[in-house]
């Protein structure tokens, strides 16, 4: 039996300077240390949870557990709830439109009501996917620690927050104590150097990174994304980057906050105001990794070489440039990876050596907490404007929140999509997880902006390829996988 916890493996040595100055710390360390209440006997840290977000599919049993034990919600004012996973996204929906969702949607509403928790239900203008509404409402803040019963909580790392995805027992633990007992993650850094080429987005960068380093490379780690290419990303794109930290196996991902972050947060409904905001901004300035801070692992990605990415298999690491071909499983050195790749190709109905470009598609899905924000819809609309979806393709756009939907409609984007033949939906997770009625037919090939291409994820026998909003839009028009750099939007832009 090991004495220490699994995650308390080799920690970066703490350096003390002769002058007795503070040892250098990573931005992750700074935020974590500010939230640590105590270290428990088993080596885990008890940390304070500043913000807690609930959704309907992982909270019902947590409230049932509270009721059984006769406990109350300790800090309802630090908690918000929404409905996003199982609800219908059909225009004009209500809680009964998807009959399968009635029970859980009703429980979310009644549990929130009973415990005095602010509920952004499907009839509320603030409703949306947990990881979309937390940043856009100013509920998630730089330097805060936010928990949610959903793995992609890492998304809020794009603001420089620690986003901790947890299971239902931990949701109950947060409700009852406003804390979590966690193994301290080890700091890791990935620097994205160079510059993105035309048509290359944050989604392409993160897919490329997962392909290069593997789906388990971040296990036990808090990954800081740094480098010139990350600094250059708008805040919404940083949210996309951090979102897929989970597909990399990491506990969380984050980008150190900067002026762009402060500008993003300023004026949002739950954000601090006036003198409080100025105080906050001062503190956020200190949230950078010190020069000599130690990372357990440090990787560099050269962005100049990254093409728009698309997955070909059933794991996010099964990814290639859209100008590439389906790999030959025999080419993988590791025997198990070889078997998995062969199995993935069988499932996906692909042959080694097939060019990815030109692959016919049946469904195009634009949405999810990865790529369902306004800038994602704008990027897709730019490709779509004035054109038509191929007749054989079922195409839908599902905004990540009602606020995104309203903002997009104010810009006329809904008309761009509808005129082209896309369905324009209400906010929700939709075809990212397909536990409502938005299901990919068996055997159909779907190009999706979401984050998981697992077998059967979008419906039994569904074949999912992950890509950026622009790439999915281009494919919807052509009816086949297309290199977005060849579309009119990017034609004429020189490749770096």
């Amino acid at each position: 039996m090991a004495d220490s916890d699994r995650g308390a493996q080799p920690r970066a040595p703490v350096r003390t300077s002769p002058e007795g100055a503070e040892p250098p710390r990573t931005v992750f360390d700074k935020i974590w240390d500010a939230h640590r209440i105590r270290t428990l006997e088993d080596g885990r840290d008890l940390v304070f949870v500043d913000r807690h977000v609930l959704q309907e599919t992982t909270s019902a049993q947590a409230f049932a557990g509270l009721a059984r034990a006769g406990r109350r919600v300790r800090h309802p004012e630090l908690t918000i709830a929404t409905q996003d996973h199982i609800l219908s996204t059909v225009p004009g929906r209500d809680e009964t439109t998807n009959p399968d969702g009635r029970e859980l949607l009703g429980l979310m509403r009644s549990n929130a009501g009973r415990h005095g928790i602010r509920h952004f239900g499907l009839d509320d203008p603030g409703q949306g996917i947990v990881h979309v509404i937390a940043p856009e409402s100013g509920f998630a803040l730089p330097g805060s620690l936010l928990a949610c019963g959903d793995s992609h909580t890492s998304t809020v790392g794009g603001l420089g927050a620690l986003g901790i995805g947890v299971g239902t027992s931990e949701v109950e633990h947060v409700l009852a104590t406003q804390t979590l007992a966690l193994t301290r993650p080890r700091p890791m850094r990935v620097r994205f150097e160079g510059a993105r080429g035309p048509g290359v987005t944050a989604k392409d960068l993160i897919l490329y990174m997962i392909g290069a380093l593997g789906v388990a490379a971040g296990r036990g780690c808090a990954v800081e994304y740094a480098g010139a290419a990350v600094r250059a990303l708008p805040v919404e794109a940083r949210l996309t980057l951090c979102n897929m930290s989970i597909e990399f196996g990491a506990r969380l991902g984050l980008v150190a906050p900067d002026d762009a972050t402060a500008a993003y947060v300023s004026g949002r409904p739950f954000a601090p105001r006036g003198a409080d905001f100025e105080r906050a901004r001062e503190e956020w300035r200190a949230l950078i990794s010190d020069e000599h801070a130690a990372f357990d692992r440090d990787e560099v990605i050269d962005c100049d070489r990254v093409a728009p990415q698309i997955t070909w298999g059933t794991s996010p690491q099964d990814v290639a440039g859209v100008d590439g071909v389906v790999p030959d499983p025999a080419g993988f050195a590791d025997a198990r990876r070889r078997d998995l790749a062969a199995e993935a190709l069988r499932y996906m109905g692909l042959e080694p050596g097939m060019p990815l470009e030109g692959l016919p598609i049946d469904v195009a899905f634009i949405g999810s907490c990865t790529n369902g924000r306004l800038s994602d819809l704008e990027a897709a609309a730019e490709v779509v404007r004035g054109r038509r979806v191929a007749p054989s393709v079922w195409a839908l756009v599902v905004p990540g929140s009602q606020a995104v939907r309203r903002a997009a409609e104010a810009r006329g984007l809904h008309r761009v999509f509808q005129d082209a033949g896309f369905e324009w939906r209400e906010a929700g997770c939709s075809m990212c997880v397909s536990i409502n009625e938005d299901v990919v037919p068996t055997g159909a090939r779907c190009l999706a902006t979401s984050n998981r291409n697992f077998e059967n994820r979008q419906g039994r026998g569904s074949r999912t390829h992950l890509a950026s909003p622009a790439t999915v839009a281009a494919a919807a028009l052509a009816g086949r996988v297309t290199d977005v750099r060849r579309t009119e939007v990017f034609a004429g832009e020189a490749r770096p």
């Binding site: 220490s4 856009e136 409904p269 306004l374």
Partner: protein, 218 residues
């Protein structure tokens, strides 16, 4: 209090695949209700075909393994979605211990919280256990001794696994995590008082804001 876990005997099943994700362990079809039959949903898409008939080639549909208490799994078991139902499904099916070379982080946490042991085994041990299951396919009966952190195979050979001491003790005692944390409640309150004094901007009632998010542009 949960059911304490100390000594257990039962059948071990082997699922050698790497990166088995929680969508596969419990497909989303079983997440639509608070009362779904999770035991049946375990590996649902792999255990049953489209018409709900068992697939005879899947290990948990085969004779001794239908009653498995232990699962020997591949690298990075439980990756993907945080759905705790993955652990509930294993537990309802009857699996109390999963052994693997590595677990995905959230699954690992969820397992212990639900009284399921996630034990780490090295490559040599993994292969030895798998070979023992293969040799005794008719009656692959193993004994797990949590205090000693050992697995005894049907030939009487003992294999070690790794589990952090604190976690093992919690399983042995059947601890309730929330009770444990609430013992520190005064310290938690003091923490919040200090934090509020230092970072008022973070704790001054966030829900005072207007209800409608006003802007969504970056």
């Amino acid at each position: 209090m949960r059911t304490p876990l100390t000594l257990l005997s039962g059948v071990m099943a082997v699922l050698p695949d790497h990166n088995v994700n929680t969508d596969s362990i419990i497909p989303s079809a079983w997440l639509r209700s608070a009362t779904a039959d999770l035991a049946r949903g375990l590996f649902g898409a792999r255990r049953f075909d489209e018409s709900g008939r068992e697939r005879p080639d899947f290990v948990l549909n085969q004779r001794p393994f239908r009653d498995a208490k232990f699962l020997l799994a591949g690298e990075n078991f439980g990756c993907g979605s945080s759905r705790e139902a993955a652990v509930w499904a294993l537990a309802r099916f009857g699996i109390r211990c999963v052994f693997a070379p590595a677990f995905a982080d959230i699954f690992y946490e969820n397992a212990f919280r639900n009284g399921v042991l996630a034990g780490l085994v090295d490559e040599t041990t993994w292969l030895a256990l798998a070979a023992a299951v293969e040799r005794h396919r008719d009656a692959p009966l193993f004994h797990v001794d949590l205090p000693a952190a050992t697995i005894t195979d049907p030939d009487g050979i003992r294999h070690g696994f790794t589990v952090p001491a604190g976690r093992a003790e919690a399983l042995i005692r059947g601890d309730d995590e929330i009770d444990l944390t609430l013992r520190h409640i005064d310290e938690i309150k003091r923490f919040l008082d200090t934090a509020t004094a230092e970072r008022g901007w973070l704790y001054r009632s966030p829900l005072d804001g207007p209800l409608e998010p006003q802007r969504t542009t970056p």
